[in-house]
Structure formats: C-alpha cells, structure tokens
C-alpha cells in the first residue's frame, strides 16, 4: 500500500471548506484517469467533508495516512 506513487500533490492545510474540495476537484480535472493525486487535509471539518465529496464524484481514495493533526490522502482519478 505504501508504494503508491503520486502523480501530483496539493497541500490543503489551512484551506477551508469547500475551497479545499474545489481545489482538489480542479486539480483532478486536469489529470488523466487512473492517475493519483496526493492531498494533505486538516483534521476536523476538512476531513469530515472532503473524503465523502471525493467519493461522490466517483474517485477512489487508495491510501490514508494520519500525521499529527492532518491527513495525507492518495486519490485515484476515476475513469
């Protein structure tokens, strides 16, 4: 699992909802299906909201790592 390579990266620490999701969505739109985007999200509201919105858009969260008070997610773009 730890070997998943990210094709792009977004640090969303300090970015509020729903701007963090909008940025994620826009970044994914510029990527190819199957590519992986790594994002860093704050705990609290961002981690409550962004993962479910990503799922609703049909993408897959392939890896989650908790680091102190933030989360590192790897998102695989849907076909």
């Amino acid at each position: 699992m730890n070997e998943i390579k990210a094709d792009d990266f977004l640090d969303l620490r300090g970015v509020l909802c729903p701007i963090n999701f909008v940025k994620t969505k826009l970044k994914l739109e510029g990527m190819e299906a199957g590519q992986v985007l790594e994002v860093v999200l704050d705990s609290g509201e961002p981690i409550q909201n962004v993962p479910k919105s990503i799922k609703e858009e049909g993408h897959t969260i392939v890896e989650v790592k908790r680091e102190q008070n933030h989360f590192r997610l790897k998102i695989k773009k849907s076909a």
């Binding site: 409550q48 993962p51 989650v64 908790r66 989360f71």
Partner: protein
C-alpha cells in the same frame, strides 16, 4: 379594538355551481379560502405537497395569481404552500376553475390531515437518506383532508438535521441509516471517527479501527459516506417516527416512538395513528394533548403490531 379589521360580516351570498347560496366564511376556511382583514378579500391556499411545484405549473400559477390577486402578491406559507392573497370571493369559482385546468388544487385548513411537508430528501441532497418527496406525495394522495379531531400535520425529513422539523409535527418521519462495519476491509485510517460529529466512533489507539457506540449514534450515515474503503455499509434504511409535536402558542416537542420503520410501513403507521386519534382525541385537541391525557402507553399498545421490531425501547436495551 382591532382597527385593522374592516369587515366583520361572516356570511355572504355567493354563486355555487350556478345557484345562489349563503356561504359561511368559516366553512370556506375548510376549503382553503382564508378570510382577510379586508372586506370581501381572501387568501387562497394552494396545495403543494413537499413544497414541490413544476416550473410549468409555477408559470401557470403566477399568471392566475397576477390576474386574481388585487395587490398582485403571493405568500410562501410556513408549510411550503403558495397562497394567493387579496382574492375577491365573487371570483372563487372562476379562480378554482382556472387552477384546476393547470392541475393545481386548493388546500385546506381546519380539523383534518393537512398537506404534508418535506425536505429535498435523498433525491438530490447528499445528506438525504429517504425519499421524502415521494412519501409526501403519497400522503397527499392517500390522506389529505381526512377528518381528525383537530389539525393533523405530517412531515418528512431525509436525515437527522431535520430541516422539515419533525419534532414540531403531529406525526413526523425522519430518515435514518443503520451503519454496519466490516473489519476485513478496514484499513484503520481513522477517517470515520473524524467524520462522526456525535463521538459515536472512537479509533483504537493502535490499530486505528473504529470502536462504535450505538447509544451515541444519530444514524446520519456520515461514517458510511466518508469511509474510503466502504467498510462502513448501510445495514438498513428507515424512519425515526415522532409523534405529538406542535408549535403555536404552547409548543410541544414530539416523542420518539419507533426506529427504522421501512418506507412500506409508513402508510400503515399513518392510518393506524389517525384511527387511534379519531377514537381517543377530543374535538379541538391536538394528538400531543390526547397522548398526555390518555397516555402514550395506550397508543403504543394500539400500535404494537405496526412497531414490532422497530421499538425505541428495544434499541435502548442494546
């Protein structure tokens, strides 16, 4: 005393189906025509179950409202209906006729089952767990206008946020989902415990896997939606049923009486509840007051077969 009331007459001559008849204003109210302060003028309440109107109907209604409202205004009622204000009672017949041509009916007031209200529900709201709009339509078709001891308001909320305020209804249905966790697919990412706003999920300090407390759970489904590996799944969807709420001068909070009532049982719950209310309710008494007077146990006993397997008490025993 009331300097704004211009008209104190309560009866008028009016043509009904071509015949001159004396019409009682208080009787008109049962048909959704509500006397205004101004002489000869009424508010006409339309029937919009769940607050849903097609754009086509809305265009038709605005044309009609523009023609019949002496001030050119409509009011959005607190129960999601449109009310055409400042309508002259002499024009009721043609107004109703024009409305029926575009498939719009007039609602009602008084002691009967009112037009149900509902939120957007699962149709387009991401939080929605139940088809509130579909159910509101069903209630409107099957039970609207059924006579009861006093007004009887039903509403549907699609999730525990409860926008349709089921706690203030005579009978309210709020969407719920029972979450079920699969250990094999869980990676212990801890997102569910972060997503849960009720502290019903704690993460195990070493494995990160969820420790679930059903007593704290509100059944909103946030854990299911947030879980990256779909390890949280919906075991069952249903309704949390509340009874005996009201607002008004003396508000009452509804009591929770059943959990995970499936969609197909909703009509039965309504039917049996109305039946109990008709038998036990005194004239002019809301069901909340009847429950206080006769006893909640009496009602629950009557509903036993309907609520079996969905009792709140059964949950508390978990």
């Amino acid at each position: 005393m009331d300097r704004f009331i211009e008209d104190k007459i309560t009866k008028v001559q009016v043509k009904v189906e071509g015949q001159e008849k004396k019409v009682d204003f208080s009787e008109l109210k049962t048909g959704g025509f509500i006397k205004q302060r101004q002489k000869d003028l009424f508010a006409v309440r339309l029937r919009c179950p769940g607050g849903r109107i097609t754009t086509e109907k809305l265009i038709g209604i605005s044309k009609i409202a523009h023609k019949y409202s002496k001030k050119g205004v409509v009011h959005l009622s607190f129960r999601q209906s449109l009310e055409i204000l400042y309508v002259d009672y002499r024009e009721f017949e043609t107004l109703v006729d024009e409305l029926s041509k575009i498939g719009v009916k007039v609602a009602s007031c008084g002691p009967r089952v009112r037009v149900p209200t509902a939120c957007g529900g699962c149709e387009y709201n991401p939080n929605g767990l139940t088809d509130t709009q579909g159910l509101a339509g069903m209630v409107d078709k099957k039970y609207f206008g059924t006579p009861t001891p006093h007004k009887f308001k039903v509403s549907f909320s699609g999730c525990p946020i409860d926008c349709a305020r089921t706690r203030e209804m005579d009978l309210g249905f709020q969407g719920v989902v029972d979450p079920q966790w699969d250990e094999a697919t869980c990676t212990g990412c801890t997102i569910c415990s972060e997503a849960c706003k009720e502290d019903a999920i704690q993460s195990h300090p070493e494995t990160g896997k969820p420790i679930y407390d059903p007593k704290k759970c509100l059944w909103c489904g946030d854990c299911i939606r947030a879980c990256p590996t779909s390890s949280w799944q919906a075991k069952r969807y249903g309704h949390l049923v509340r009874i005996g709420g009201k607002h008004g001068r003396h508000p009452m909070e509804a009591k929770e009486i059943a959990l995970f009532i499936p969609d197909e049982k909703v009509p039965l719950v309504i039917e049996k509840t109305i039946q109990w209310y008709q038998t036990n309710g005194a004239r002019g008494e809301r069901i909340g007051k009847t429950l206080e007077r006769v006893g909640l146990e009496n009602y629950l006993k009557f509903m036993e077969t309907v609520f079996s397997g969905c009792s709140i008490l059964e949950r508390e025993a978990v």
